[in-house]
């Protein structure tokens, strides 16, 4: 993307404004914003793959892709309009840099397992509410049992699961054979430390990024 100027974290509010039309944006109102920023700014390499399973509320994703010069900034203006490549749920065939079309919850982790089986390092972002969908657990169980070390699941936890996760999300992943770590979902250094690639991993990794309840 040599023709595009990349922007910084502080430019994200202005990009979000272009997407939504709202004048003021508090970054804290976007549960996934910091995780996405750290992934694209500090973690993901050329050959890595990122799949956004939680396709609801993708404005933070589009803003980060725009800041990184992957999505043209001009594309943000028509968000959700008939001719826009950026909709309320991402379409990989329309939006540059989007590697998974999502919106129906519980699909990304299974696709991520398939991609990771080839040895490709894969990061997949899901929400704590999304984990209600049983299909996630098919992926969690299988990846854990076969020791799929190339896979990282990032669970953005804003306590939005209606019935909650008694005794914690991480216990469920650990029981199935994953490593699990809970970090402050606004702390960039902590996120980076938890998310950086680990080529020697013999187990899939779950990073729970905790953000304030919505």
């Amino acid at each position: 993307m040599a023709t595009t100027t990349t922007l910084g974290y502080d430019d994200l509010p202005a990009l979000l404004t272009r997407l939504t039309g709202d004048e003021k944006h508090d970054r804290s109102s976007f549960s996934t914003l910091d995780v996405l920023w750290v992934l694209y700014d500090r973690v993901l390499g050329e050959d890595d793959r990122f799949l956004l399973s939680k396709g609801h509320g993708p404005t933070a994703f589009y803003a980060v892709l725009a800041a990184k010069g992957i999505v043209p900034v001009d594309a943000l203006d028509g968000f959700g309009s008939f001719d826009s490549v950026l909709g309320y749920h991402p379409d990989r065939m329309l939006a540059p840099g989007v590697e998974l079309s999502s919106g129906s919850l519980g699909h990304g982790l299974g696709v991520a397992v398939g991609a990771a089986l080839t040895g490709r390092p894969v990061w997949c972002l899901v929400g704590d509410g999304e984990l209600d969908e049983g299909s996630n657990w098919e992926a969690v169980q299988y990846a854990g049992r076969i020791g799929l070390g190339s896979l990282t699941a990032v669970v953005v936890d804003n306590d939005s699961a209606w019935y909650g996760w008694p005794e914690g999300i991480e216990r469920r992943f650990v029981l199935e054979g994953w490593t699990a770590q809970r970090v402050d979902g606004r702390d960039h250094d902590a996120l980076e430390g938890a998310l950086l690639p680990d080529a020697d991993a013999t187990r899939p990794r779950c990073v729970i990024a905790e953000v304030p309840a919505r």
């Binding site: 990989r92 699909h107 299974g110 696709v111 397992v113 991609a115 089986l117 299909s135 169980q141």
Partner: protein
């Protein structure tokens, strides 16, 4: 004589050995026959994951083959066919076994006459319904060589011999204006028996999507009467016939498995007869629709 399913397992083993692009995903079926291979992934009894994993493999450039029993390959993970494969524009070859009622004695849970209608409701799928084990070879090889979304519906029912010539073949030409009987996959055998002494054209259809509109138009010629015989839900391809013949008056009879909770066990042959899809039943329907001949 090798049945279609056994032939499929042979072809899968060959494909895994010969083609680095091929990967196979199963959900607790055929493991003894396929055997262990670094690119054979059995995900346990997890059919949604089976389709998701196939999509992920396709995302990485592989040609995934997903295989299970018909209801568990198509019906249970249907939204995953729609989204993980279709909406993401990722290719895969799905191969089912069990057809409509091969496992009749297992009951409704293992009977899946809706499968072709369900796959056909999604855009862009190629659907093959081979009627003989030897037809599987070229269909499967061609499917592996492409990168689209393909559904191959295997069946224990089979015709006397394979039919060459691609997806749509006119096997018998009636007199000018004679009715056209379109026999899909393994229905050819009862159709040939039922029409032996009738002045009709008989066409064999093994690739039902994309539908051979021109083939049907040409085979019907100046005729007006069409009988479609499908081994799955009756009427599944009626809309395709309507499109093929949209600019000419015609009469259409669609035979197949009724859309009903049948609640019978027994054998495939008993189901075939009960649904009027054996030679006697087809002949009876032709008598009613076309008039009695002798």
């Amino acid at each position: 004589m090798t049945g279609m399913r056994e032939r499929f397992y042979e072809l899968v083993r060959e494909a895994l050995d010969e083609n680095d692009r091929v990967a196979v995903v199963t959900a607790q079926i055929g493991n003894d026959s396929i055997g262990e291979h670094p690119r054979h992934f059995d995900v346990g009894i997890r059919e949604q994951l089976m389709i998701g994993v196939a999509a992920g493999l396709a995302l990485e450039g592989y040609r995934p083959v997903a295989h299970s029993y018909t209801p568990f390959l198509v019906e249970r993970p249907w939204e995953f066919l729609k989204l993980d494969l279709g909406h993401n524009d990722l290719g895969a070859v799905l191969v089912s076994t069990g057809a409509s009622y091969d496992a009749a004695r297992s009951g409704r849970t293992h009977q899946a006459p809706e499968d072709v209608a369900l796959v056909a409701a999604l855009p862009g799928w190629t659907i093959h319904v081979p009627g003989h084990p030897e037809e599987l070879d070229p269909l499967f090889r061609r499917s592996l060589a492409g990168d689209g979304r393909v559904y191959i519906r295997m069946s224990e029912e089979e015709n006397h011999a394979r039919v060459d010539g691609g997806g749509f073949t006119v096997l018998r030409h009636g007199s000018a204006g004679a009715p056209l009987i379109v026999a899909v996959g393994p229905t050819l055998r009862p159709v040939l028996e039922a029409t032996a002494s009738r002045d009709v054209s008989v066409a064999y259809l093994a690739t039902v999507r994309p539908f051979p509109y021109e083939g049907v138009q040409d085979a019907l010629g100046t005729g007006t009467d069409v009988v479609l015989v499908e081994p799955y839900q009756a009427g599944t391809s009626v809309a395709e016939i309507a499109v093929a013949l949209r600019d000419r008056p015609h009469r259409l009879l669609a035979l197949g498995v009724p859309n009903a909770e049948f609640r019978r066990y027994g054998t495939g042959a008993e189901h075939r007869a009960a649904h009027g899809l054996d030679a006697t039943g087809v002949a009876r329907s032709l008598d009613e629709f076309l008039g009695v001949t002798d």
